[in-house]
Amino acid sequence: MLTENGKKMKATSIFDYFSKEISPMRWITSITLSLFVSIFFAVQALNKKVEINQGILGALSPYLVTLVDINDRPEILRVIRSVGGSESADVILVKDGTVMASTRSTSELDMPFVAPETLLSLLGSEFSGSEILTVEALTKKNSTSMAKIYLISPLGPFLERALFLMVLTFSLCMAMSWIASWNLKRILKKSLTPLNQLHQEIQNLDFTQDAQTTPIHIHEMEEIRQAIMKTRHDLQESNEKFAEQKAKELNSQSYKQLIHDLHNPVAALRQFVRIQFSPDSDDQTKEEALTVIPQIAEEILRQVTSAKRNLEFDSTSFVKKDLRESLKESLTQVNAIRHYPSKNLTFKMPDKPVIVHHDSANLKRAIINLLENGLEASSESVRVTLQENDGRVSINILDDGPGIAANMVTTYFQGRGLSTKSNRQAYGLSSSNHIVTGHGGKIIYSRSHDGWSKMEIRLEGR
């Protein structure tokens, strides 16, 4: 497909277009939703975890305060190990800056406690890069000791869960959007059926006059269909008027042509009649004039007879029709007559219809005449081709005969030349020329590049 500036444009289906347009939306929606869901649940889970941690430490602290007070490390270790095990966390009890009990390692017992570096404080807990630090002071009235219990939970599992949730949500979103998109495409495809129907209506508009149409159940499209139907009807009427007008115009042209063509023979006839009756003319001259006068009269009669047929253009027969049909019928008719059974007659036509406004009966006569001339003049073969290029239609009739002299072409086309045909089915080149020009076209004689004589009927297309 070409764009306005003549460049090639890559056309795409409406489904591909739809997929392409919806794809970024799907990705953005999925990523946003998965991020939102994962962050939301991660924060919820962290909040819950912090609450649990604080709850555990809060519940344990009275007992731990007692154990710290009596310095019962074995029992403290048992308690914090139990908590640490169930919470998959490290629990460290620090008294006066020294580790009194730890689930992490026995090596840090009785050593100064080094608290993990925290990055932010949130939800009542401290967060390092990899841990959640929940602290509870273990205070006892009248005690000079300062004890704290630290519950250090790894952040990794939360991040892993959040990541898992993100991937899961993303996958679900993508799957859902894919399903939704697939369904939308399906619906779109279904909804395009009336559009296709409409498209068909439009396609049929110009040549299938009797095409059956079905009402479309979508209101807007049905209105378009009705408009098309009306347009088609109006067009048909317009065509008929155009054909009538064209017929009149052609008839008028034919009269003018006849008058023009008769001018010379009639002038010649008058001249010879004058000679016949002139006292100044000698006998020999009169004798010659007497011989010529009937010949010229015969020629005038022939021209008038031919012209009479050309004046029979009928407005109803001048319609848009596939020229291939008319050409095929002409060929069939010529083959049926079989004046020249030993000669080859081949033809070549396009696969698609070649729609041209024409009077099929008259144009067939012109074609048959040219075919007969070609067969008569040919040595062995006649080729017929039908071509359509940029709205110009050509029927080419080529024969391998000697052809005609270039200076005689106009004479023959005007109907003044003498034909050598014994059993004429056509009406000569003049008649054919009349018919073709009546269709707004012309006949062009030339020699083809391989030396064949070529008669080209050139018409304007649709």
Binding site: I70, N71, D72, R73, P74, L77, A101, S107, D110
Partner: protein, 506 residues
């Protein structure tokens, strides 16, 4: 009571024996076990070996949790007086014979018998009292309910009894063979390691993993306890011939840690100068207090064991009864003694000469006539048992993590009462806290007893050591036990043999 010394016996070459570089694990010890009979063990070297060969119903985790060992579960009655143990099924002794509840009953009754040196730990068991110089074992409250179930009845609730059963003396022996003569020459236990041989010539004891051990066979090919001095032990460690110096009281600044791992942890111990109240001048409480006040323990600690914690009391940190600050000096102790005072210290200490000099200089400058006498471990122990020393340096380790263990040293009738003190008030307090189930009340009684002990001045508390266990960097799975090195679980220790060979080549 058990006395762990820092007393390496300077002895032998470590080069004896075959290839030391297989998956054999060599642990250097300051002394080979003096006995392999659990009820006669009173020193760390024996307890270390006993803990490898024998298992008990319960055991200590590295952080003092009492866990199931041969028993797969246990219950305590609501009144705290009856403990019921259920054995794991299909337990075996090293000779392949089954281990049943009858073996447990036999072993626990043996622990309260007259021959037991540790019966004081078990005297809370019903019927364990000595009458007319003997104990009627048929009346001892330990009975087999079925092949796998044992019931232990106590006179009164004793919260620390589970810890006693997790200790190194509560080991289970095979009833059928334990009474045989020479059983403890080639003992049969149910522990992770099986006794192979003790060689006095090379001063080694060889053990091999017990294939049918209920927790799975150890990854070691064999385990050797090798007696040596501290100096030789360090040299052997450097050459890759020894993989374990956990028996040695090393400072974290020791150069050996540059080539191995330092597994550091506190241990429940107190280094003391024990004062014999049966010997002048320590038969006088005033003199004991004066002597104690003269002792610059902090200077000693800072100079020789800087990573140890100061000891302001007799009980180690982390246990009820622990004193975190010194008592205020309200009295001036001006007294001095004109006669010589001898303090016995183990000569196996690497720094014993320097220590002697420092202590003598310090105390003598304060008006005392002190002679520090370094002696062999055996001699020191003999004097300890016979109570002939005036004063002596020992490390008081604990067999179970309860102040009760250490304080009973001062019970009047306890044969292990090294101080010889006889104090009714203290006896009463000990009796009270032993049967007090309430933790707070118990702690209050401990506090009361500690104040009394301070007043009685039976020990000069030097410091609470911190263990710096050296193991080869090729050793995996070694974890310190905060009670004592006796309880290190060697069944999970392994050695990377290739690493070891590489190290030796290096």
């Amino acid at each position: 009571m058990k006395i762990k010394s820092n007393l390496p016996l300077i002895i032998l070459s470590l080069c004896a024996g075959g290839s030391a570089y297989s998956a054999t694990y060599t642990k250097s010890v300051y002394s080979l076990p003096l006995t392999l009979d659990p009820i006669k063990m009173n020193d760390t070297s024996s307890l270390v070996a006993g803990n490898l060969i024998f298992d008990g119903l319960l055991k200590f985790s590295p952080s003092l949790e009492v866990q199931e060992a041969l028993a797969e579960s246990w219950q305590t009655s609501s009144d705290g007086k009856v403990l019921t143990f259920k054995l794991r099924p299909n337990l075996k002794f090293h000779d392949g014979s089954p281990l049943t509840s009858e073996d447990v009953v036999y072993s626990l009754k043996r622990a309260v018998s007259k021959e037991s040196m540790v019966r004081k730990y078990y005297d809370c068991i019903e019927g364990s009292d000595e009458r007319n110089g003997s104990v009627d074992l048929t009346k001892v409250g330990v009975t087999a309910k079925d092949l796998l179930t044992i019931e232990v009845r106590l006179k009164s609730p004793f919260p620390a009894f589970a810890s006693v059963l997790a200790g190194a003396t509560a080991k289970i022996l095979p009833r059928k063979s334990a009474s045989q003569k020479n059983f403890f020459i080639n003992p049969i236990g149910s522990g992770a390691f099986q006794f192979i041989a003790k060689d006095p010539a090379t001063k080694t004891m060889k053990l091999k993993p017990f294939a049918q051990y209920y927790r799975g066979k150890s990854k070691l090919e064999s385990l050797i306890l090798k007696e040596s001095s501290e100096v030789d032990a360090l040299a052997s460690a450097r050459s890759g011939q020894v993989q374990d110096l956990a028996n040695w009281p090393l400072s974290k600044t020791n150069g050996i840690f540059k080539i191995g791992k330092n597994i550091s942890a506190p241990i429940a111990a107190t280094w003391i100068i024990g004062l014999n109240t049966k010997k002048a001048p320590f038969d006088s409480q005033d003199m004991r207090q004066a002597f104690k006040a003269s002792f610059d323990t902090e200077a000693l600690r800072a100079k020789y064991y800087p990573d140890a914690a100061p000891a302001f009391g007799y009980i180690p940190p982390g246990l009820p009864g622990f004193k975190k600050s010194p008592s205020p000096n309200t009295e001036e102790f001006q007294k001095s003694f004109s006669k010589k005072i001898t303090i016995a210290i183990p000569n196996a200490l690497a720094n014993h000469l320097d220590l002697k000099k420092t202590m003598e200089a310090d105390l003598n400058s304060k008006g005392w006539k002190v002679e520090v006498k370094a002696m062999a471990w055996d001699d020191l122990m003999k004097g300890y048992v016979s109570k002939t020393h005036q004063a002596f340096l020992v490390s008081m380790n604990m067999d179970y993590p309860d102040a009760d263990f250490l304080m009973r040293n001062f019970e009047s009738h306890n044969p292990d009462n090294f101080s010889g003190i006889s104090n009714k008030e203290l006896d009463l307090l000990i009796s009270k806290f032993r049967s007090e189930p309430d933790k707070l009340k118990r702690a209050a009684l401990y506090k009361e007893a500690i104040i009394l002990l301070d007043k009685l001045a039976l020990t000069v508390n030097l410091f609470h050591p911190r263990a710096n266990y050296w193991v080869s960097s090729c050793v995996q799975g070694f974890e310190a036990n905060i009670l004592s090195d006796v309880y290190i679980d060697y069944s999970v220790v392994s050695v990377d043999e290739q690493c070891l060979q590489k190290m030796v080549r290096k």
